[in-house]
Symmetry: C2
Subunit: 305 residues, 2 copies
């Protein structure tokens, strides 16, 4: 079983307008609502691939209830812990050219709610599971929150994939996740002296992230670099895809979590993760992949040893 | 009892940002949520004044549930009919200078839901009540929806105040409401030949609105002009107030509904309505009034006969 953790989910709203006029009033012609937050994107991609997955995390208020409804509608199993605060929204206003984003702050999580989540997590995660920990921590969750979860997962015999940034990443790495997936910018923020723009640099920087057993650095169209105690592996998409890069990193985490579960060797796993990331770029919204693109790229990407 | 009808309510969100950057991503520093829609503003002002009021209308989905929670928190009695669609949101993005608005379309109301509302309305409204009918009609509600409600109220022995625009106003007037409160622009839209910018013109245009027993035309800082079979009355604020004019018309309707209930003579009623409208301008958000301003202006506004 793969368990995705989303501590700071969001209801993602996309408003379609003719043109954005600052200080004007806009009649929104179309409203799209979807469950957002990186961990929910990972869960949605795994569900689309037919992989067993349970989404957990924190949800509150009427926005949280709406996300629960949407997850049920998408057939995604959910085991969220209720909180008193209102889960945040994000609003993306799409005009003909581009989108303008508005991100609400996350709700304040009480120490009692965080303790309740730790109990739920302990009950949910068992031996052989893979846990994907994705995204930011909401206010009130300790900076070492992911470190605590990584420790609990290890005690339960489960393995972990960590995809976050900043202090949450720094603290999480110290707890020794089985796999960390920073992107080049997140790695450079943590280890400013390393040049993560090259494969060698990404590998060197990843070595600095000594807490994790393995590190996969995502570098957008340049592809992925994996490093562990045994060596360095690399894979890149065979073509440049136009589309929406939001959610590509989450599709990558979905592939990595599945590969960790199946103990897939690196060359095969990286090819799969590159193809699934590119298939997310080809899909119109985050949390979904274009399956035709996925299968086409898998055929074009022979695993490199 | 005063009953307010809000067929197309909204959850009004105000996002505070440093500056609006088109095609940028904004971290929202503060989120304010309030029940919106003109009828809910009327109910909120009456509740603030301590007047018995019940808010009815149509609410659906998690956004509707959130509005119910907020109304309960404000101590406003509510008797809404549930609908399957999601109640709309409005988002106002406030930067240092001004606000940029995004209005979602209203949910589609089924004929079954509309029939259920008519039954609830019939059960709710009794002899001696005053019904305030405010705002736009959502998709699916017939254009003569207010006309139907005005007819049902009359049969029950209740009186009606109509505050809407366009086709909903045109159809509603034909049903003979006890009072219509268009603003000058709404009246001019319906009767383009009348010049509603002057008191005489507003009165003449109001006479054209022959369906209503009385018409009060609101003209912003120029004040109010009332016309009925017996004559024309006028009142204007004694000073120009800076502030937020959104909701001033709804505060005016709150005063008019109370005056209709108490059969207050025109000179006294118009003075009260002008003072309460101005007190809404002085309050930071729609649906509330600044009570100090209200009482100060009431003293400065001797009823004119």
């Amino acid at each position: 079983m793969i368990v995705t953790v989303t501590l700071n989910p969001a209801l993602d709203l996309t408003y379609t307008v003719d043109a954005l006029v600052p200080h004007g009033t806009h009649r929104v012609s179309a409203v799209a609502e979807r469950p957002g937050g990186k961990g929910l994107n990972v869960a949605a991609v795994l569900a689309q691939l037919g992989e067993p997955v349970v989404a957990t995390g924190l949800l509150g208020g009427s926005t949280g209830a709406r996300i629960s409804d949407l997850l049920a509608g998408h057939g995604i199993a959910a085991a969220f812990v209720p909180i008193a605060g209102e889960t945040r929204r994000t609003v993306a206003v799409a005009d003909g050219d581009d989108a303008t984003g508005f991100w609400e702050p996350g709700p304040l999580v009480s120490s009692h709610e965080w303790t309740a989540f730790l109990e739920r997590f302990r009950a949910l995660v068992g031996s052989g599971d893979v846990v994907a920990l994705s995204g930011s921590l909401p206010p009130g969750v300790p900076a070492d929150g992911y470190a605590t979860l990584i420790g609990l997962a290890a005690v339960a015999g489960a393995r972990t994939v960590l995809d976050t940034s900043g202090e949450a990443l720094r603290h999480g790495l110290a707890a020794g996740p089985d796999l960390a997936k920073p992107n080049a910018a997140e790695l450079a923020e943590l280890f400013p002296t390393a040049d993560a723009s090259t494969a060698a640099g990404a590998s060197a920087a990843a070595v600095l992230a000594f807490g994790a057993r393995a590190v996969v650095v995502s570098r957008g169209p340049l592809g992925l670099v994996a490093s562990d105690a045994d060596g360095v592996w690399e894979a890149a998409p065979p073509e440049r895809l136009a589309g929406n890069p939001t959610g590509a990193g989450d599709a990558c985490v979905a592939a990595l979590a599945r590969g960790l579960r199946d103990r897939t060797p690196w060359p095969e796993l990286l090819a799969d993760a590159v193809a699934l990331s590119a298939a997310a770029v080809a899909a119109p919204v985050a949390g979904s992949v274009d399956l035709d693109t996925y299968h086409r790229l898998l055929r074009a990407l022979p695993p490199r040893t």
